[in-house]
Subunit: 217 residues, 4 copies
């Protein structure tokens, strides 16, 4: 495999730095070759296309994160703790490597062949960890069963993306642990199975009263 040669490593290193700094479209094969100190054509001895370089850069960064997450999540007991771990992990990844995360979200994901790529596979493997945690929570009765676990997955990862994006672009700052706590508490409480409380019923009664008054007004 070309993947293991020293030159491939050099190319990926240079590409990673350039992609992070200038984006995928903003980086040419010539830029990468120049940074490595080889001719343009040499890149194609190691990778079949520019996009393959991008995908490999992402994979190299993504895979260990996923392997690590897969291994650790099983060692954590308790649905809530597992959820918090996955939320915290993603927040930390975004906070520590905002450029690579931007690359994945803003450049790789909109590509038309993305959903057939290895990267999308990795992403599915990764996010399915959270789906499994939620599903287990539902089975054990810790979570309500009337909500799709995939919706929770989208809510959590979409939410984290937006929260972290603001921090990554310098428009806000976040404390990873604190945000992880807040999100976990929100989601767990939101998913908590419980009988209707007087409070909750009160809200619904108010709404009905309003509607009725409007009709009569």
């Amino acid at each position: 495999m070309g993947r293991s040669s020293e030159r491939s490593v050099e190319i990926l290193g240079a590409a990673r730095a350039l992609f992070a700094e200038n984006g995928f479209e903003g980086t040419s094969i010539s830029d990468i070759a120049g940074a490595v100190g080889v001719a343009d054509g040499a890149i194609y001895k190691h990778f079949p296309s520019k996009r393959a370089v991008l995908y490999e850069v992402i994979r190299e960064f993504y895979e260990p994160v996923i392997d690590n997450a897969s291994a650790n999540v099983l060692g954590i007991s308790g649905t809530r703790e597992r959820l918090r771990y996955l939320i915290w992990l993603q927040l930390r990844a975004f906070t520590e490597q905002p450029e690579l995360c931007r690359l994945i979200i803003a450049e790789a994901r909109p590509m038309e062949d993305y959903y057939e790529s290895k990267i999308a596979d990795l992403n599915r493997r990764y996010t399915s960890l959270l789906v499994d945690v939620v599903r287990t929570g539902q089975v054990e009765g810790v979570f309500r069963g009337d909500i799709a676990p995939t919706m929770i997955r989208d809510l959590v990862y979409g939410g984290i993306e937006h929260i972290a994006w603001g921090a990554a672009t310098g428009r806000s700052t976040i404390d990873v642990d604190e945000v992880a706590d807040d999100l976990t508490r929100l989601v767990c409480q939101g998913l908590e199975p419980r009988p209707a409380t007087a409070d909750q019923l009160g809200v619904r009664v108010t709404r009905l009263e309003n509607l009725i008054e409007r009709d009569q007004g």
Copy 2:
């Protein structure tokens, strides 16, 4: 303003259709000029750049939605109902105009000057409606006060984006009303201020018992 001339309207109409179909990068000034039936150069009598055309197309679509939302949200009583309305509105926008939403998310947002653009301003105005609702909820005591309203904003809009994206790209289907109900319930319940219930404590006690037993086993 040249923006309101008949020709400008024609240009924006053609651009909107082409951008929606082929994306921003996939549409050339020549394509737009050709669709309108004018020479390439004519576009520049009405808009300073291709990107300005994009931003104007988005603004034209976005602004009425925001004005409508701003007006309506005030006519709705109850924090929960207001929240549900904003969630439902965003889900419907995504479901009915997936191409334009894709344009905003995947093409406009990654642009480097996006956050200084009018579109970002519009977006801020729009999403601040939700921030205000949450803040009001906190003031009124309906919501916990220990969580940043902006975080809720990011969570809700980021979550909706992911949920709707899957539907827009055909990988899943959603029922707008149902999802709006689910999300509203989840967030409201998650934000509900309340002392620990026996139920909730029970769960945590059980967990501790489990951990202790494991240590002793």
Copy 3:
């Protein structure tokens, strides 16, 4: 039509000279643009592709020849004279413009879309003149009717191509009038309808005797 602009004329002139000298593959768009004194991209305001330039160069040369041939051949009476005229015309074209003929034969014809191109249409129109002449000769009884006119067309034009090619590449020299006479005489005599002669029968009898002797040997 861009075809009529002065710049188009300049481009075609430069392309014609360069194609004739260096061939199609041996000429780049940059070469043509450079010869005209414009930027590379300017070529594409007048022609959609490099191949379109080639086809237009050929058409410009070919069309008048064909129009002229179509008009004149009708003014000539007698099948033999018409045939000789077409043969002579083709020989002269090859002798006077060997490079352009080479371009058509060696570069345009092997192209995969050639048979769907305008050039192939022109060629068909041109060579069908000879088919019509032969067919008329057959109808009038001047030529035998037991041979396909299209085969004669292929024989004559294929033959001329080879004959003239040797001259064009400097490997031989030809006298156009003389060769035209020879070819015309050969083809007309070869197509002459006549009863079997003793000579001819003798040849065939000899062949049969040989075959029989071989079998008995």
Copy 4:
């Protein structure tokens, strides 16, 4: 000679198949090396260049055909039969191996060094068989002596090329024996030495009568 090593044979076999399928330009050294299962550079231990591989592929195919033709033509008695044999042989070659013939005609022949190559030599040796047959016919009085044998060679091989080309590209179909008969008869009759016949004179007299009447009308 390295040419005869086992590896060389493998290379030529792979190259032949690939050239026939994808053409010379459409086949890369890498393709050939890959098909053989060796590294790219290995090809250059056996052949000095890609073009040399092409020429060798053609030679390997061509030489036996020529040796066979040379041997057989001497075993055939009668100028007409010899001529027919050569015509038939060439038609059959085209019909059975259209791809290799296409390779020679459309790819090898247009190459600039073709006429100095071994292939051109082979071709000359091959086509000179027909020149010799015609010349012998002239010496024996079977053919007119007032026509250059090389012209007959060009006419016959050029004609066959065009006739067979249409069939090879699927635009027509041919029956090899029938076409061989037609061509042989046409050429032999066309070359037949004979005084003007009454028939022939009759045609010419008629034409003159027509011309005179037209002038008087």
